[in-house]
């Protein structure tokens, strides 16, 4: 038993490691591709070589970052199989489809057109090249759509039915999976936050050039583009973030309670800013658009958990009965049980709690509250700060007056780059730590989702990839800084 817990822990560590590293590189790919496409569009329209030089400069940085994003992404896809074997069977019928679609459509668009974008300057016409650049940007966001649909489905499983004959959930409504409100919100929130980070990156690097007194034209223009792109994105991030909170309150009330550190449920629940500072009735309003609404607390849900565990075990036992009937060839009993699994009432009361049946104690349903609570505040706080920086940058940039900007602001723009990365990682911590212990909300906890691999095997691969990714990250950062210092090339 002790040994099995460590399998679960190491498998989670392995997945967290790869997800965290992967997401260090993804947001810049998503956003910078569009920024580059804007710049190149400007070049194609006005024909001024300065714009081409600028496009190529940012493209160089894009390339360095892209390669390592691809490398870390490969592992994630296969890890569902290697480390989450039961998961990938139990819901593979639904979960596999978006991954396959992502590969067939999005990845090939990206990888085909990126080659033209980098090496095709002298091989295709200007307009074809521009199209390739836009297609790369479009492909990147399209791949984000499908992987986020997959992720959202884990948080809010819809459009499927459990089939006892195959012992798995099976898709019954593809559109419900694709257009689930959680998926749509998650997609727009994630992608716009990635655009925001890219805006910060471009603004910060441009600020560095201004501080060094180099590349004044390129830096000012880039900063303006980065700041406008970033500012618009930030507004969308806020809007979709609010939408996400509403969705979380509907499908993952425990995550919401952890985000707010709310132990006792109440009406007129206050929104905590930091411990001790709060907005009266703010949480009730945020989650339910009603200041008087009741928000469930962590303790309420723990109290309710034994009933859910009981209900879950009823569903699991029923499945076991099906298998027994199958063993003795009792088709009548099998059909009867299969019908029960299709019953709407049964689905809601029992099957929705299937995963609770695998838990040991009611406390297992509580995610790490401190980490979730503080990550949420880090994300929102840094987001607000970055929002302010975009406004300042644009304020000084009006009518090309950026020369007069106090140097302090330029330093703040530069230092905002790591902050944006911290904010986006914190966002994923809220989403993924906050949903523990579920790999699929309510249906499958991590303890029943893993592969039956020895903990030591997972530990070995964990350290192997931890070292490799860290080394590659160092290489990525040093190459990027060297490329920035070198500046745009002049051939």
């Amino acid at each position: 038993m002790e040994d099995f817990n460590s399998v679960v822990d190491w498998s989670r560590a392995m997945f967290a490691l790869t997800a965290i590293y992967h997401y260090l590189f993804v947001p810049l790919t998503l956003g910078l591709s569009f920024i580059i496409a804007f710049m190149e569009t400007k070049y194609v329209r006005c024909g001024d070589e300065k714009w081409k030089r600028m496009t190529k400069f940012w493209m160089k940085l894009f390339g360095v970052n892209f390669a390592i994003g691809v490398a870390t992404g490969l592992i994630l896809e296969f890890e569902f199989g290697t480390n989450w074997s039961n998961y990938s069977y139990f819901v593979g019928d639904i979960f596999g489809a978006p991954l396959a679609i992502e590969g067939i459509f999005a990845f090939f668009i990206e990888s085909t057109f990126i080659a033209i974008m980098f090496f095709g300057w002298n091989k295709v016409g200007k307009k074809t090249h521009l199209t390739a650049t836009w297609m790369t940007a479009f492909g990147a966001s399209l791949s984000a759509l499908w992987i986020l649909v997959a992720n959202a489905w884990m948080q809010s499983p819809v459009g499927m039915e459990f089939n006892p004959a195959t012992a798995r959930n099976e898709m019954v409504d593809f559109w419900a999976v694709l257009f689930s409100p959680v998926a749509m919100n998650k997609f727009f929130h994630t992608v716009t936050s990635a655009f925001m980070l890219s805006g910060v990156f471009v603004m910060g690097v441009s600020a560095w050039f201004l501080l060094k007194g180099r590349e004044s034209w390129l830096a000012q223009k880039s900063m303006k583009i980065g700041a406008i792109f970033g500012l618009v994105s930030t507004l969308l991030v806020m809007f979709t973030g609010d939408g996400s909170a509403v969705q979380v309150s509907k499908v993952q009330p425990m995550k919401l309670a952890a985000m707010e550190g709310l132990y006792e449920g109440k009406t007129n629940a206050a929104l905590s800013i930091v411990p001790g500072v709060e907005i009266p009735s703010g949480l009730s309003f945020l989650a339910y658009r009603d200041a008087d609404a009741y928000v469930a607390g962590i303790n309420d849900m723990v109290e309710e958990a034994p009933y859910r565990m009981e209900a879950g075990r009823v569903a699991i036992d029923l499945f076991a009965q099906y298998k027994d009937a199958q063993r003795v060839g009792d088709t009548e009993a099998m059909n009867e049980i299969a019908e029960i699994f299709k019953d709407e009432e049964f689905k809601k009361e029992y099957f929705a709690n299937f995963g609770y049946g695998y838990l040991n104690s009611p406390e297992d349903i509580v995610p790490p509250v401190g980490l979730t609570y503080w990550s949420f505040r880090v994300m929102v706080g840094l987001g607000m700060w970055i929002f302010l920086l975009f406004i300042v940058s644009l304020w000084y940039n009006r009518g090309g007056r950026l020369e007069r900007i106090p140097r302090l602001w330029l330093y703040l723009f530069l230092w905002a780059i790591p902050l944006a990365y911290i904010a986006s990682q914190a966002g994923w911590v809220v989403a993924e730590v906050g949903r523990q212990p579920w790999t699929i909300q309510g249906l499958l906890p991590t303890v029943a989702a893993v592969s039956r691999v020895e903990a030591s095997s997972v530990e070995i691969t964990f350290w192997l990839f931890a070292v490799l990714f860290t080394v590659l990250l160092i290489a990525d950062v040093t190459i990027l800084s060297k490329q920035i210092k070198k500046g745009p090339s002049d051939n």
Partner: protein, 360 residues
């Protein structure tokens, strides 16, 4: 559509993706030849760059192969990946180091130095085909797993995992079967042959082309011998099945024709004929193993063996994915167009020396 038809249709798509992946591993084969076919920095840069413009295509095909396999035959995904853990992790590892190697090798501040990244390319070039070959070998030679759906009905922790691996070697035990070695090495020599053919087709340099021809003289016969050993020892049934045998022969003839025009006629486009032959032959082998019995036999419990019928997704999902598959011809079309655009002019020494624009 009939459920069984959908299962066969999706196995055909998986087989096709697998076949395309093997062909596209000319990139790996090319990487394993860099040190041998280039004698100076300029030649090396030329070869790295013609390969570097294609590595992502291979990589994406691998990812898509994985994703499509997951979507259409999830039980394979959970059984093999979660079981033969070390093998799949090793495959992932050698692809991770490849993905950064091209972009980083010649950049200032790359931390590990160019030689390390070139070593990454070499490791990937040899280990990727070998490991994938050996892993696919187990489709024919079997693996040590059990599958029991009833386990889901047990709520004690650790007791409810459907697929279990019955060897502590976690897939490495496949190396105790010489037939898996044969297929692994066959793939190394096949990809080296394809890599040499690709370089011949993409580089305008007589010395390099000549060295590539010499590679083929050794690699191609080695491939044929190893493949025949594998076929006779692991896939003998194919010789008694007229349709599959005929398809296999078409593949073989295309390969032989491509090799013939390359070695004896000075033709530089042999890659296309050999490539098409490779796709047909690999497609046939995978199709055969899926359509005739079990494509992933269990050595410890024959009832656990995976067939395309007991391991596929539901009828609904396969139907939905079949609509998705209608888009594949469009994908192939723009890949083809992009290839043609980028490769119509061969890489020359002048291009490497004068054009510093985003060279690897």
């Amino acid at each position: 559509m009939e459920y069984t038809f959908l299962q066969q249709y999706w196995w055909a798509i998986i087989s096709l993706l697998g076949a395309l992946l093997v062909f596209l591993m000319f990139v790996q084969g090319g990487q394993s030849l860099i040190g041998y076919v280039s004698k100076n920095d300029t030649e090396r840069t030329m070869i790295v760059n013609v390969l570097g413009r294609k590595w992502e295509l291979t990589f994406t095909t691998l990812v898509t192969f994985g994703g499509a396999f997951f979507a259409s035959f999830p039980l394979f995904y959970s059984t093999s990946f979660g079981g033969a853990y070390y093998v799949w992790m090793a495959i992932l590892l050698v692809f991770v180091i490849q993905a950064v190697a091209y972009e980083y090798r010649s950049k200032a501040g790359n931390f590990l130095g160019r030689k390390t990244y070139d070593a990454f390319l070499m490791i990937n070039g040899l280990a990727a085909p070998f490991l994938i070959g050996a892993a696919v070998g187990t489709f024919f030679t079997g693996a040590n797993f059990t599958v029991d759906f009833a386990r889901i009905g047990n709520y004690a922790a650790g007791e409810n995992i459907i697929s279990q691996w019955e060897s502590p070697w976690r897939g490495l035990e496949a190396l105790t079967d010489a037939r898996n070695w044969a297929l692994g090495f066959a793939l190394i020599f096949l990809t080296r042959t394809l890599g040499a053919l690709y370089i011949i087709n993409s580089v305008d340099d007589d010395a390099v082309v000549e060295r590539c021809r010499r590679v083929i003289w050794l690699a191609a016969p080695a491939f044929v011998v190893l493949l025949l050993i594998f076929l006779f020892t692991a896939v003998f049934g194919i010789f008694t099945s007229p349709i599959f045998l005929a398809m296999l022969l078409v593949g073989v003839l295309l390969v032989v024709w491509g090799l013939f025009i390359t070695l004896f006629k000075g033709n530089k486009r042999g890659i296309w004929s050999v490539g098409a032959g490779t796709v047909v032959a690999v497609f046939t082998l995978l199709l055969y193993v899926g359509y005739t019995g079990s494509y992933y036999p269990s050595l410890v419990d024959s009832a656990s063996s995976l067939t395309i019928y007991n391991s596929s997704s539901s009828e609904y999902t396969l139907t939905a994915m079949s609509y998705v598959s209608l888009g594949i011809p469009f994908v192939v079309a723009y890949i083809w167009w992009a290839w043609w655009v980028m490769n119509r002019k061969k890489m020359t020494k002048e291009e490497v020396e004068n054009d510093g624009e985003h060279l690897y």
